[in-house]
Amino acid sequence: MSPRSTHLREQRQRMASAVRQAHISRRGVLSGAAGVAMLGLLSACGTKGMGGAKPSPAADRSAEEAAVRWSNWTLYLDLDDAGRKHPTLDAFQDTSGLRATYTEDIDSNDTWYGKVQGQLSRGQDIGADIITPSDWMCERLIRQGYVQKLEHANMPNVMANMLPKLKDVRWDQGRYRSVTWQTGFTGLVWNKKAFPQGLRNVEDLWDPRLKGRVTVLDEMRDTMPMMLLDQGIDIAGDWTQTDYENSIDVLDRNIRNGQIRQVKGNSYKEDLISGDVVAAMAYSGDITQLNFENGDQWEFVLPERKGLIWSDNMMVPVGSPHKANAEKLMDYYYDPEIAAEVAAYVNYVCPVLGADEAMKDIDEELVNDPLIFPTDEYLAQSTSERQLTLDEETLFQNMFQEVIGS
């Protein structure tokens, strides 16, 4: 082992023990009058939410207020050609008589969480009745008690049409608190002209010919499982901190030697377009869209050592007073014909049974697109990671941020 990596390892050990030490017992904490006063100020300012008792759900006023508010990611719902209206959502308003407010205000799980965590922890209304975070964030929100339990009886379409594979996720067995919105894959992409040999595994990103033309994602929950998979580790199984450290060493090395140009969020797409980046870790739907808009230049694959499958899920936050309305909307999107319309636009995996049949009427070609209606073999190429413990969540995030220089 090189002296550098020894040093890195020591640093990491210190970091891990620091994380453990930070857990001082509650009783040991000095909480003088000043502290209490400060606390009042803090909660008044909404800067910080406290842990402790889980918040209780708000009373449902759906019967009195015919409204539902939905927070989603950008470009994640069908849009008309003028780019102003969402046809399926308008249709929902007409048939249900509910006024739907649609906001594209989630652009990162972390940033969104940082913004609303304080309110959620106090059980306050965050201004949304449906939120759409990713799996791991959903897991965290359920653990923290920040979402409401759903009434299956109100969602017959969901019960009938959700893909069986999705019904029993580890963190929400039986789907009592979440409903899948869209599913996607994290895999590899390359520019077919600039790098005709293509990629088979994450390892191939370290090809010297690609030096400085590679990006990986700044989402730890994407990049690190991909790195672990590349080490031959079953990420759904019982991997250890050492496995994680080995993978992060590889990442660290390739950042330091300039192989990886940048660690990026969603803006990796612009780098692919500008040509600065030739090969990258990427989300499946993005690449379908890129190819559609910029000519068929890129190819997306799941690595031979497997890629990631993930979902963004609709949930009702604890402070929402419109749970029944929210359930109505979720159920609406599990109508196969509606789901097909959305899938034709967003190009992600459709979680609704029968949508492929409905798609035939919209665009025959898309029925055979594995990125929208994946075959079993394609699905077998993907997996997802086991649950992280609280300590792991903090420690691993810490290490990852350290390596990517922030």
């Binding site: 100020l41 803090l42 940082g114 950042i255 940048q262 903090t394």
Partner: protein, 311 residues
């Protein structure tokens, strides 16, 4: 009359105002107090209180078995030592980048401000057009402008291609994802903050002083150093502060134009501590350290170059 004599006269002056006048004066004084009240309240609410919150948050403690983001009030000064030891190089880099960007912005902004404010006097149309052209790009979003720089400096862009053609840049070289790109972005994005104060002070520059300087044997270069520059110092001073302070805390440029090796700035770290690692005390402590460092640097700067005794 000499100054002391004048003062003596002022002291001797008898208050000849009627009681009504005195009451009116006092009322005016109270009016003044009422007028500054909203400002004071605003500052208390939106500056003083957040700083207190920040300070107290930085001392919070994570209890045993705490949920993510759960911290309780405490006096954990260790957070400061921890983040300082871990991030002082990033802090230092932030200040170095901000300093280079400030100097570069000064070098770029001064001639532009001079052209518009001094050379184009008496040509209001041309002056107006140029001013608008210089300022208009900054009506667009900060993020978009920075993204545009990515395109400008891209590997396939004409700048990189040209530099490669004349062998200034090696064949496998690039400009994006380098410290150079980050500093370029910082310089560009904060240019108006440098230019406008300098423009404002040059606008007031009495060109007759330049003639007088030339008349007294000073060459144009000497006139610039001895008259123009000192006369524009208040603007240069304000401009450098207005550029340096936000540039030191900026993270957008480093995030978009930087790489993840040698361009990280303290703003990125605070962002990741807060949002990704969910280490609120660490983020607060870093913010506070940043604030104190900037305060110290600015105080030194004011001490050394303050405009107080310029006029």
């Amino acid at each position: 009359m000499s100054a002391p004599a004048k003062e003596a006269r002022a002291v001797e002056k008898v208050d000849l105002r009627s009681p009504e006048e005195i009451r009116a004066e006092k009322k005016k004084g109270r009016m003044g107090a009422w007028l500054i009240l909203p400002g004071m309240l605003y500052m208390a609410l939106f500056f003083a209180a957040p700083v207190v919150v920040l300070l107290s948050m930085s001392l919070f403690v994570k209890p045993e078995g705490a949920e993510l983001g759960e911290f309780v009030p405490g006096w954990n000064f260790g957070t400061y030592a921890e983040v300082w030891n871990r991030y002082w190089p990033v802090l230092l880099r932030s200040f170095v980048f901000a300093l280079i960007a400030t100097v570069a912005a000064l070098i770029i902004a001064f001639p532009m401000a001079y052209l518009v404010a001094v050379r184009l006097r008496g040509k209001p149309l041309l002056k107006g057009i140029l001013l608008v052209l210089l300022i208009a790009p900054f009506f667009s979003s900060f993020i978009l402008r920075t993204q545009a720089w990515k395109q400008i400096l891209a590997d396939e862009g004409w700048i990189v291609q040209t530099l490669k053609a004349v062998a200034i840049l090696p064949a496998d070289g690039s400009l994006t994802a380098t410290p150079f790109a980050v500093i370029c972005g910082l310089t560009y994005n904060f240019l108006p903050f440098m230019m406008l104060p300098i423009y404002a002070s040059l606008e007031r520059l009495d060109t007759r002083l330049l003639e007088a300087s030339g008349d007294l044997y000073a060459s144009p270069a000497q006139t610039f150093m001895k008259v123009t520059l000192p006369q524009s110092m208040p603007g240069v001073f304000a401009g450098t502060l207005l550029t340096f302070i936000p540039a030191a805390g900026d993270y957008v440029n480093a995030a978009i134009l930087g790489n993840n090796r040698d361009t990280s700035m303290i703003g990125q770290v605070i962002d990741s501590r807060f949002f990704k690692v969910i280490d609120y005390p660490g983020a607060a402590a870093l913010s506070f350290i940043l604030m104190v460092c900037i305060l110290i640097l600015v105080l030194i700067y004011i001490r050394r170059f303050g405009t107080k005794d310029l006029f």
